[in-house]
Symmetry: C2
Subunit: 173 residues, 2 copies
Amino acid sequence: MKDTRWLSETELDAWMAYVTATHLLERRVEEQLKADSGLTHAQYEILAKLSASPERRMRMTELAREVVVSKSGLTYQIGQLEKLGLVERTTCPSDERGVLAVLTDEGVRCLERTAPGHVAVVRAFLIDQLTPEELQAMARIMSKAAAVMTAAPGHSIEAPARRRGTGRRTALG
Amino acid sequence: MKDTRWLSETELDAWMAYVTATHLLERRVEEQLKADSGLTHAQYEILAKLSASPERRMRMTELAREVVVSKSGLTYQIGQLEKLGLVERTTCPSDERGVLAVLTDEGVRCLERTAPGHVAVVRAFLIDQLTPEELQAMARIMSKAAAVMTAAPGHSIEAPARRRGTGRRTALG
DNA sequence: AGGGTGTAGTTCAAATTCGAACAACTAGAA
DNA sequence: TTCTAGTTGTTCGAATTTGAACTACACCCT
């Protein structure tokens, strides 16, 4: 790990602009959602995923993976959304352990009511700023990055505690 | 606000990929930093900004604006970094109210020690995935977006002061 | 069947973030 | 000078997020 390939000027420009833009955008999105609907971005993402899912329902673990949040984080948010009547919990028919998060009709209405303002912000600060070529590039770039990270090992999304690890023998061996 | 301009298929692709990639990347970055140095990404960003600043010091409010975090959030993190001996607080000579966050020598060493691993992650999951054209596009896209959001009103993070000297940049971004 | 291993979701404590309220200070006008 | 408005950084409480520990269930192999 001695000699590092530092970032070139352009690479640094790209990275720093990305980091800053991402923070600013998250703030704008959060601000708009909170003001117009009382939802957080995390909650909106959950509702959106559910609404795009067959039967408007999804298993907890898969949903957590989709929105890229920890299992406990999702448990919390689904709890909040349940309180609001936007989501319901159902035990999974095929797996007694499983829980299905189901978008309620109220949830659908909330989403329909909220989406326009959300889209407007995404457009105003990102999408509408881009040329068609840049839009394509962005889709390509981000898809590639997401694919690589999804494929690469070390998914911090709940690394199962590997017990028998380092090949060391225990007293039981 | 009646008829919404919904996102086209490509626009939606770009946006969704962006959101997902951003979450995944944040996780990877956070994971690496925590493992290799015990720092959070927020803390790393603060150290990096300070190190690229003249005299390695910055006013709290300006620093908060630069790293795009709330004033109270910065107060908290500077407190943490102070405990770790990586940053010190100094009262601003020219303004009795002001506080200067100053990167200590220990802070510099910590950053130098941590930067290689951080850059490696940024490269592996984002930068090195891009063609030169895509890299350019990304820099352009994100700079544009950041500029628009910085300029637009409604900043929850106040934006009075004009930016002074061209804070020099290091490769630690 | 009986065990052992792995998975699904929840609970818990700890860390972090934000906004509002606040105290201290600055700056401009009268 | 003195008043007034605006700025600066901190404190406080509430909300959110995470990883680890835990319970309940599923699946496989003999």
